[in-house]
């Protein structure tokens, strides 16, 4: 078919966007809950919050570039999006493993997000390969 844009990638990016909003709010709420219920001194709270907000800041251009690259069938934005995805994955792994308190809900949310990122990356690589060739 003449259309090289990947529909599954588009759907996944859209779902990712919606899920990320939920993920951000839930993780923020849980950090607030943890700071009230457990002993969470400020110098442990600051890195966790910084990572969460950094991830949110990264997510916006990442998703935008992904949509744009997929729709215009251009490899450059898609490649840039893939690079940003690597950063997001690292931050997600931090929140999964190296947070001060990792609750069971944290594990679930981050695992789902990691799975989404992984699937997305695979679809992006396929799309880039399709666009290049």
């Amino acid at each position: 078919s003449s259309q090289l844009s990947s529909l599954p990638l588009h759907i996944l990016l859209y779902v990712n966007g919606v899920y990320y909003i939920f993920y951000f709010l839930a993780t923020l709420a849980m950090i607030i809950y943890k700071s009230q219920v457990f002993s969470y001194p400020d110098d442990f709270l600051a890195p966790d919050l910084a990572v969460l907000f950094l991830m949110a800041i990264l997510e916006v251009p990442r998703l935008y570039l992904g949509f744009k690259g997929n729709l215009t069938e251009a490899e450059a934005p898609l490649g840039l999006s893939l690079g940003l995805t690597v950063g997001s994955v690292l931050l997600c792994v931090y929140l999964l493993l190296w947070q001060s308190y990792v609750l069971w809900a944290d594990v679930l949310l981050n695992a789902v997000l990691l799975a989404t990122y992984g699937l997305e990356s695979g679809l992006k690589v396929t799309a880039i390969a399709a666009f290049v060739s």
Partner: protein, 522 residues
């Protein structure tokens, strides 16, 4: 977790009902009834952790302890899966003082109190000053009565029986002390504590830390002679100072009785002292001095209170009569008429011989007393019944009992009437009503309740019932005599209902529409 045991308090000994104690053997376990600590677990917020479960198997004979190490899973979705913050689940270990941080730690923790928040440490010094300013404007209970130089002294025995002059009199604390002072006739006029001047020269401050003075005036002087007889001097207020006369030291102070009048705001307005002067002979090396201080509020009659407001255990129950309209307390300390009293058992135990020996009913003390009545054939029924009623009830049995320890005579509703009941025990074989009934026992039941706040409940008498039990007196064949026991008892029963917590009322939303809200239609 398997090695932790919170109930293992005794070293190398088995603690009772402590199933995790390693010092206990199987025989000890068979004697336990329950396990005081069934589960030993770490922080229960972790998702999965080991728990040591101890239980007693009572079915087995002998009972044995069961120890299981299980994995306890917290099903909540917010359980802690992992932490990377080591001190998360442990208590903070305190800083070890070293030479560098000692001063800082002393500032933080050296005071009587310290709080968890470091911000609030600086607020306390400011908060103390306003409260101090309020206290100095009046006397409060127990505060030493201040005079010009120091405190109003009430010499009292401290460690031994010797008088110590450093005992201050406390405001509203009625005290009576006796102590021994060493004297000699030669130094009669040089020992300060023997002269009246010592006790009245410094004036009392009306209010603590003020400049208003109240002079102590001499109310009366009684002179005690060597053989103990006291004579009141006519109220000549001249001071009599000790001097040596005929080998005796006369006008030596043997007793002082202070009486201080105060207002209801804690200000002293009058102070008088009554002295007992005596003579010391040459051989006497020491004399006994007695001191007393009492406080009265102005414009009130000094009635000894049995509590303020609730009754204090051990103080007499106040009672009185009601002559035409108002309860009238007949219970001044010296006047024993009209007190609630109970028969006082004597050594002879003969009811008719020792009439008049009565003991006051003290709040909270259940008492029982009695005597034996010897009935001969010659005794007539009616006079005997009347005599026994007098023996049991006393000369003037009161009609009302004060509900609170400080009930005033004017408050009609603070006095509880005494309910009188008569029970007659009918002998089964005698159904005749006309046979003689004599009272054999008086039971006073005082029902009291706790009244007021939960942290400081006051005792309040709610109901007093005096029950006279009579029995029939069988006519005795002449020459024979019978002994029957007569008893009287006082029982105090606590009928307090369980405390009800009361909560602040929820604020209500008070929405009312304006009067002319529906103007065109109404």
């Amino acid at each position: 977790v398997a090695r932790l045991c919170v109930c293992d308090l005794l070293v190398a000994q088995c603690d009772t009902n402590c199933c995790c104690d390693p010092d206990c053997s199987a025989e000890d376990f068979s004697l336990f009834t329950t396990c005081s600590i069934p589960v030993v677990i770490g922080d229960s917020q972790l998702c999965s952790q080991k728990a040591a479960v101890y239980s007693l198997d009572v079915e087995a004979n002998p009972p044995e302890r069961i120890f299981k190490l299980i994995d306890q899973v917290n099903p909540s979705i917010f359980c802690i899966h992992a932490t990377n913050y080591e001190q998360a689940l442990y208590l903070k270990s305190p800083e070890i003082p070293t030479a560098e941080n000692f001063d800082e730690l002393l500032d933080k923790f050296g005071g009587a109190t310290f709080s968890a928040e470091p911000d609030s440490w600086n607020l306390d010094p400011d908060a103390q000053n306003p409260s101090e300013a309020n206290e100095t404007s009046r006397y409060e209970y127990g505060v030493p009565v201040q005079t010009e130089d120091a405190f109003l002294r009430l010499p009292s025995p401290v460690v031994s029986s010797w008088c110590s002059d450093a005992n201050p009199a406390g405001f509203l604390v009625n005290q009576a002390t006796k102590c021994i002072r060493s004297v000699s006739v030669e130094k009669c006029d040089s020992i300060q504590a023997l002269s009246m001047l010592f006790y009245i020269n410094s004036s009392i401050l009306a209010v603590p830390k003020s400049s208003q003075m109240v002079n102590i005036t001499v109310q009366s002087i009684a002179v005690q002679s060597v053989n103990g007889m006291r004579t009141f001097l006519s109220s000549g207020e001249a001071l009599r100072l000790p001097m040596v006369l005929d080998g005796l030291c006369i006008n030596a102070v043997l007793g002082v009785n202070y009486h201080i009048t105060h207002t209801d705001t804690g200000e002293i307005i009058e102070a008088v002292a009554a002295f007992v002067l005596g003579a010391i002979s040459r051989e006497a090396l020491s004399i006994e001095q007695s001191f007393e201080i009492s406080f009265t509020q102005e414009n009130t009659q000094p009635v000894p209170l049995s509590g303020n407001p609730g009754y204090v255990v051990g103080l007499p129950v106040r009672a009185g009569f009601q002559p035409q309209g108002y309860p009238f307390p007949a219970a001044f300390l010296s006047n024993k008429h009209g007190q609630l009293t109970i028969l006082h058992s004597t050594s002879t135990q003969d009811c008719l011989a020792a009439q008049g020996a009565r003991a006051p009913v003290l709040f909270g003390y259940n008492m029982i007393s009695g005597c034996k009545l010897r009935i001969t054939a010659a005794m007539k029924c009616q006079p005997l019944a009347q005599t026994l009623l007098d023996v049991l009830k006393g000369q003037s049995f009161p009609e009302y009992v004060a509900s609170f320890g400080n009930s005033q005579a004017q408050d009609v509703f603070d006095w509880v009437p005494i309910t009188q009941l008569h029970i007659s025990e009918q002998m089964i074989s005698h159904t005749l009503q006309s046979s003689c009934q004599i009272p054999v026992s008086l039971g006073i039941e005082v029902k009291w309740t706790k009244y007021g706040s939960l942290v400081n409940p006051q005792a309040r008498i709610v109901n007093v019932t005096a029950t006279i039990t009579s029995t029939t007196l069988k006519q005795l064949p002449s020459g024979r005599e019978r002994i029957i026991p007569i008893t009287s008892s006082v029982v105090f029963t606590d009928i307090s209902s369980p405390a009800e917590p009361s909560y602040k009322a929820w604020p209500t939303i008070n929405i009312k529409l304006p009067f002319d809200f529906f103007y065109p239609f109404v």
